[in-house]
Symmetry: C2
Subunit: 225 residues, 2 copies
């Protein structure tokens, strides 16, 4: 099976879906896969069975699906293309970080190896895209540091915003406006479980409070000495 766009999208969804469920070898339920791809459940079942025939996934009826080694590599290379394209669109072409996701989603299925390699060179072999998402290497291996989000990180110490787990344009623009883009320095001042929110102080010494939901989408790295 030569991997069509559709196949690539299924693999990518399983790849990132499994990343969401903590243990990396857990099975992804079909319902979640179908929802991620916005297709009917039956469609996902049919496709997954075909992927299983091709040896790209392991599939257990009524249990779920997981990538095989071959599928994992393919998915990682799709993700590599996606993230290199996002970095390219932002850093070389000067587009905004909140408007490149959809373009990358289409281009990732179409760019040749030559183009990917050239973008990688022009960008100086980056390890993360503009959202801080790690870029798998050319062999399809992902080097992803385990980072705490704003609900788990230490309080009262300076942190560097490192990764954003949401591609929604509105959310990204909000972050930019509030100086919460990757690279910015912030401090968690207080966490209020009952009120379901987190109080922050940003670079310009400005203070703001965000909900737990949003806080969980911001990953940070405690700063060195």
């Amino acid at each position: 099976m030569l991997p069509s766009s559709t196949v690539e999208n299924y693999l990518k969804a399983i790849y990132t879906g499994v990343a969401g469920l903590v243990p990396p070898q857990r099975l992804l339920p079909m319902g979640q896969l179908a929802a991620a791809l916005t297709v009917a459940p039956g469609t996902a079942t049919t496709m997954v069975k075909a992927l299983h025939e091709s040896g790209l996934v392991e599939y257990e009826p009524y249990a779920g699906v997981r990538l095989s080694a071959a599928g994992d590599k393919l998915a990682a290379l799709v993700l590599r293309r996606h993230r290199l394209i996002e970095a390219f669109l932002v850093q070389v072409m000067g587009l905004r970080w909140d408007e490149v996701h959809d373009d990358a989603e289409l281009l990732e299925h179409v760019v040749s190896d030559r183009l990917v390699q050239r973008m990688d060179e022009m960008l100086g072999h980056p390890t993360v895209d503009p959202h801080g998402d790690p870029i798998p290497d050319a062999e399809g291996v992902l080097h992803a540091p385990a980072l705490p989000d704003l609900l788990q990180c230490p309080v009262g110490v300076p942190l560097t915003v490192t990764r954003v787990l949401d591609q929604d344009g509105g959310f990204l623009r909000f972050l930019e406006q509030q100086q919460l883009k990757p690279g910015e320095t912030i401090t968690v001042e207080q966490r209020d479980t009952a009120a379901d929110c987190v109080a922050l102080r940003t670079a310009g010494d400005r203070q703001l409070t965000i909900g737990a939901r949003a806080a969980s989408k911001l990953l940070v790295r405690p700063q060195e000495p």
Copy 2:
């Protein structure tokens, strides 16, 4: 009908096919269209009838097909994307002019208007691509100067190579090696109809002879003063 890749390719083939047959309103025979798209003749008939239903082409059974005004505009915009992409890949990304055609062929169906516009800006609103092919403007209008080829141009005067009517990598590499790329200056020294060839002198004062077939693919502009 939202124009799929397939539709865009049919329109483009009719657009450039009609350009090949001199009078711009002549009908393109189905056989030629099918051949250009490497598709069975019956497939082309079916598709052309659908395009006719959508008002993108005029179709006369057993005679051929021609673009409607709407189809012409759509086709021109596809060609605009294609040629801007080729220019971008060469001038911004540093790829060779003989290896960008296939990438552009895929990307042209996928790049957003935003990307096209950005490429156009970055390139300074170019009017031709790296092969000298004219780029339709954003309204889908093509400004194409009528240029003579090496079989029709004046002999013994300096000429600027302006356009190459062939995307074959081997041919393009040959031109580059022989200093026959667009922009180079050459002179036609002699034309030999019987021997079916043309003798040239290139910039470095080197001499070479090429066949009439190849000569007809090089368009030139006589130099001023």
